[in-house]
Structure formats: C-alpha cells, structure tokens
C-alpha cells in the first residue's frame, strides 16, 4: 500500500487503529525491503516483536495476515518483559519503554535485531530506527552506529529518507 503525502492527525482518540499507527505499520513493513539482516537470524517466519503499550499492534497483526515479508510469513509477538526478547527481525519499542530502553537494547543488539523505537530521542539512545512526527507527518530517524552494532546493513535509499542521528 502506498501512502499519499498528507498530514496525519496526532493524538487520535477514535475507536480502532489510528492513521498514525497505520502509517507506522506500513513503514515498518517497507523497512524490510531496504535492510539486510545478519546471518543467523530466525530461519522460519519473519518475526516482529512489540514491547510496551502501542496502538501499532492491531495494524501489525492485520499486516501479518495479509502480507509476506521477504517471502516469509509474518509473525507478530507481544513482549512484556525484557527477558522475553529472543531471536526476531524487528523489535518495536513503544514510547512507554523509555525507562527500560537501555536494558532492552542491551538484550537486543547482539541478536542482530532491528530495533524500531517510537519515542522522542530514542535514536540518540541507541535505537536503530525511531519514528518521529515532523510537521504533522510521520518520519523516522536512523542511527547508523546502532545499525552497525546490530550487524544490520541499511540501504542508502532508506538513509536518504531518514533523519540521521548520532548517539
């Protein structure tokens, strides 16, 4: 699904998933095409884990039902504890996890996981990709250093669209 350039209303209190979460879900899915994961990741499904409270879970689940990523079935898991972080491709860190961020990253980095944050300044903290809202539009920050730590290769095409952040 392609997105038109349009403003995304913030702080939606409506029923069902907000447009923002839908956009983020779509972005998340698109990231898979521009990022190469290191060898030794989960071999079966394309795993997306979500830690913390986020409205993105619904749209993600919907995505997993409809599409394949990298030719594989998408599996979405919800994590509650840091200990639950296991081998996966994408770890979505909700804004609620600001307190545990260091802990989470520490756990995730060695596993070659693409950490995607959803909190202001997360990228500077060591998250690889972090969603931000700029001028009412969803954009994302990328920390190349963090990506390097996780052994991820990010396409220049993606970097071109990102707000590059230094830790």
């Amino acid at each position: 699904m392609l997105l038109a350039l349009q403003s995304i209303p913030c702080g939606s209190a409506e029923e069902g998933p907000s447009l923002e979460d839908k956009v983020k879900t779509a972005f998340l899915y698109k990231f898979t095409k521009y990022i190469r994961w290191p060898e030794g990741g989960p071999a079966d499904d394309f795993r997306i884990a979500v830690i913390g409270e986020s409205g993105i879970l619904g749209p993600l689940r919907e995505l997993a039902r409809e599409r394949l990523a990298d030719g594989r079935k998408i599996r979405v898991e919800r994590l509650r504890n840091v200990d639950e972080i296991g081998p996966c491709h994408i770890l979505f860190i909700a804004s609620t996890e600001r307190e545990r961020l260091r802990e989470i990253l520490k756990k995730a980095e060695p596993k070659g996981v693409l950490t995607v944050g959803d909190g202001k300044g997360f990228a500077a903290e060591g998250v690889v990709v972090n969603f931000v809202i700029v001028d009412g539009r969803v954009r994302f920050e990328i920390s190349r250093r963090a990506a390097g730590r996780s052994g991820l290769e990010i396409s220049s095409q993606l970097l071109k669209l990102a707000i590059l952040v230094k830790e």
Binding site: L2, L3, A4, L5, F27, K30, K33, Y34, S155, Q157, L158, K160, L161
Partner: protein, 495 residues
C-alpha cells in the same frame, strides 16, 4: 554550344579528376555527416536513458515512503544535466508525485511515451521509466531533454564537413592541376611537334619520349613515322635533283643536236640553192642553143632532127622546171623566200596566167573558162607568187583532165581574195587527199608515170599561200573532178 569533347585535354582531365573527387568527397561527407547525426542522437538517447535509470533508481524509496520532498531532492540532482529541461515522477495511480524544476516545468506537448523508447517531438526528447521495487511498480519517471546541444553539435559538424569538403575540392583541384600535366603535357608536346612539322616542313624534328606508357609509345611511333617521311622526302628530293640534272643534260644534248641539225639543214638548203643555180646555168644554155638549132638559124633540119631536138628541149625544160621547184622548196624551207607586198592588178594577173596556160589546154582540147568577178581589181600582194600558184593549179588541172573544161573563178569578198580552179578530170580518193600538200608525194606510181611532175607543185603552192597569210583547200571525188580553192587577204600589210 558547350561540348565536353571540345575542351582542352588539360581541362578535360581536371574536370574528370575534380568530378570524381567531388563525388567521393560528397558521398563520404554525407555518410560521415549522417553517421555523426546518428551517433549524436544515440549518445543523447543513451545519456538520457542512463540518467533516467539513475534518477528512477534513486527515487524508489522516496516514492515507496511517499516522501515527495526526497523525490524532489533526487530530481534536483538534474541540475548537473544542462540538457534536461524537465522531469516528473508519477505514483502508481498516475498522479504527479514530484516535479522538476519546481516552477517552469515545460509542457511535455506530445502524449507521454507509452513504453521505454524515447519520443522525439518538437525539438525535445521525452523518455519515461517505470520505477519498481521487487516486482512492485511504484510509479514512473518522465524526463524531458532539450535537443539544442545536439542540434548545435550537428550544425557544427555540418559546417566542419562542408569546410572539409571545400578544402578537399580545392586540394583535388590543385592536385589535378599538377597530375594532369603528366598526361596532357606529352600530348601537347606531340601536338606542337606535329603542328610545327606540318607548318615548317622540317622533318628532322623529334619528340622527346618521357615514359613507356601509351603516350610514350605514341611519341615513339610518331618519331618513327616522321623519320620515314624524312627518309622518303630525302630520297624524293634526291630523285628530283637527279631528274633535274638529267633533264639539264638532255636539254644541253638536244640543244647541241638541234644546233647541229639546224646548221646541217641550213647547209643543205644553201647547197641546194647553189646547186640549182649552178644546174640552171648550163641548162639555160642547152635550152637556148637547142632553140637556136630548132629555129634553123645555123641551117635547115630534117623532120627527124627537128623531132629529136624538140624532145631534147622538152626534157631540158622539164629539168629546169624541176630545178626551179627544188630551188623554191629549199628556199622556203631555208626561210629565204620572201613575199613582197606591192599593189598590182589581180584581174590582169589572173587573165595573164590563164593566157599562159592556154597552149597546154589547147593541146589537150580542153575548154579554159574564166569567171572574174567585177569587183576584182588592184590589191596589195606578191603578183609573181599569186601567178605562180594559179599557174601551178591550172597546169595540174589540165594535166589530170582529159576531156571537158578547166574553170577559173576569182572573187573578192570582205577583204579576202578567193580563187577557185575546177576541173572535170580524174579526181582522187578521199584517203589520198590527206597527203596532197606534202612534198615529193604523188598519189601513186601509176599516175606519176602517166602524168609526169615533180610532186613539189602543190607543196610549194601551200607554202606560198601560207606565206601570204592565206589557205589552200582541195575538194574532190574519184572520177568527178577536183576543185582547189585558194584564199588570202587582199590588202596584206607588209611584214
């Protein structure tokens, strides 16, 4: 009218070489120009294609993430491409996603190209590319390129090709000026030589041979030919000289012979004249003394003596006559006989001559008629010679006539004296008349025996008449008598 074959060989050669050079240069120039055109076009297209591929590839993520600002940033890299005047990215639904330049995007004009092939229109090239990621079509890119640079390059190339063509033609012209000499010069030299020889007639001239090509062979053959002509001319001249020498020699010999003959002739005539004179003197005394004897002055003679003396006298007179004729002939032939011109009475002369011939006619019983026209009177001429001619004709007529008459007619008309003597004698055959006036001729032996004569009479007559500027003519038929006509001018100027 201008015709190529009337041109000088020099110009012909230059024209041929120049034409060939022009055709080749034009052909190659055109070929090179068209090739350049194609190459330029191809390079423009390939450059545009690679730019389109680059831009298309670079705008994948922007399109994917619907980031038109990023897409426009990508498009702004086209600033480095001066030819590209406009670019646009459309999304999968065909909506405009990003535009370059932001303001002043040119109207694409023509319909957007359907496929990947470039579309040329209105001095611009339009090329479109699909933007896809992993088999998913995200949108498309349209590039519009200006052809100005391409056109300028083409124009420059055309100018270059034309100036090269011009240089080539000039070079070909100069080269042909130089090379044509190799052919035209020997030919011109040959022409000059031939002209010179035919004008001056000097066959000693030779053409210098320069190569062993056809022209060289021509020179050689020409020289051979001239040599032959020269040789022939020389031998001709030699023959001519020899001939002239011989003619001179012969002429000299002839002159000598002629001189000898003439002197011999003169000698002969002089001898004859002297001889006749010497012969006449004793003969006259014989005739004189015989006459005295016959007149019986010394004493009476008997009949027999008279008869024999008469025969002697007759023979002597005949001999005298003969001698006189010979004397006349020889005088005429020696050119010593002169006719005098003095007035005399022609009527009296004719009558006197007829009277002189009467005894002969009476002896044969012939009638002697005379018809003298009334206008006949005094004329200027040689009386003695006229009488001699007439007497000769009369005695001839009487001699060859046995019966009938001899008629003499004399008239004067238009200053011409005409005397005709007509007889009724034996006449003669046509074929005998040709020799009639030649000396020592008598028609045949039989006649000469029957009618004695010297055979000189008519010949002398003819010569005398001719001396008087007149003519003599005979008409006759065998057995029908003869007519001799003499005509001469009545008033002959003394010559």
């Amino acid at each position: 009218m201008f015709r190529i074959r009337d041109l000088h060989i020099k110009h012909k050669l230059i024209a041929i070489q120049l034409t060939t050079a022009c055709i080749v240069l034009l052909f190659f120039g055109l070929f090179a120009f068209l090739n350049d055109l194609r190459t330029f076009r191809n390079s423009v297209v390939s450059q545009l294609t690679s730019t389109a591929n680059l831009i298309g590839g670079n705008s994948v993520s922007a399109l994917d993430f619907a980031d038109s600002a990023a897409a426009e940033k990508v498009l702004s890299s086209l600033d480095a491409e001066p030819d590209i005047v406009g670019a646009r990215i459309y999304d999968a639904l065909g909506r405009v996603f990003a535009t370059y330049p932001r303001s002043g995007f040119p109207d694409p004009g023509a319909a957007l190209p359907e496929g990947e092939a470039p579309e040329f229109s209105g001095g611009r090239v339009l090329i479109s590319r699909k933007i896809a990621l992993g088999g998913e079509t995200l949108g498309s890119l349209l590039l519009i390129s200006d052809m100005k640079r391409y056109r300028r390059a083409v124009a420059q190339n055309a100018v270059l090709a034309l100036s090269l063509l011009l240089v080539g033609v000039v070079a070909a012209f100069l080269l042909s000026m130089l090379t044509q000499k190799a052919i035209s010069e020997p030919i011109l030299r040959l022409v000059d030589a031939a002209k010179g020889i035919s004008e001056t007639g000097k066959y000693s001239f030779r053409v210098e041979k320069q190569g062993s090509d056809e022209i060289g062979m021509l020179c050689e053959t020409f020289n051979d030919m001239i040599a032959q002509v020269e040789k022939r001319e020389a031998s001709l001249q030699e023959a001519h000289a020899v001939l002239e020498e011989r003619v001179k020699e012969r002429t000299a010999q002839l002159a000598v012979a002629k001189e000898a003959a003439e002197s011999a002739d003169r000698l002969k005539s002089a001898f004859l004249a002297t001889m006749s004179h010497e012969l006449r003197t004793p003969l006259n005394s014989i005739i004189g003394f015989t006459g005295i004897l016959l007149q019986e002055l010394p004493g009476p003679l008997n009949e027999e003596q008279k008869k024999q003396l008469g025969m002697s006298k007759g023979s002597a007179e005949h001999l005298l006559e003969l001698i006189n004729d010979v004397l006349d002939i020889s005088k005429i032939e020696a050119g010593q006989l002169q006719v005098v011109v003095e007035p005399f009475d022609l009527r009296a002369a004719v009558q006197k001559t007829i009277l002189a011939a009467r005894p002969l006619a009476d002896k044969k019983g012939l009638a002697l008629e005379a018809d003298i026209a009334p206008e006949v009177g005094t004329i200027a001429g040689d009386r003695r010679r006229v009488e001699q001619v007439l007497l000769n004709l009369l005695s001839n007529a009487i001699k060859f006539t046995d019966r009938g008459r001899v008629r003499t007619e004399c008239s004067l008309r238009a200053g011409q004296v005409s005397i005709r003597v007509t007889d009724t004698g034996i006449g003669m055959r046509k074929e005998d008349m040709a020799d009639l006036f030649k000396p020592f001729r008598q028609i045949d032996a039989g006649i000469s025996r029957q009618y004695e004569g010297t055979g000189l009479g008519l010949s002398i007559c003819k010569k005398l008449v001719e001396l008087m500027d007149g003519s003599i003519r005979a008409e006759s038929a065998l057995g029908a008598g003869s007519t001799f006509s003499v005509a001469f001018p009545a008033d002959r100027k003394a010559s």
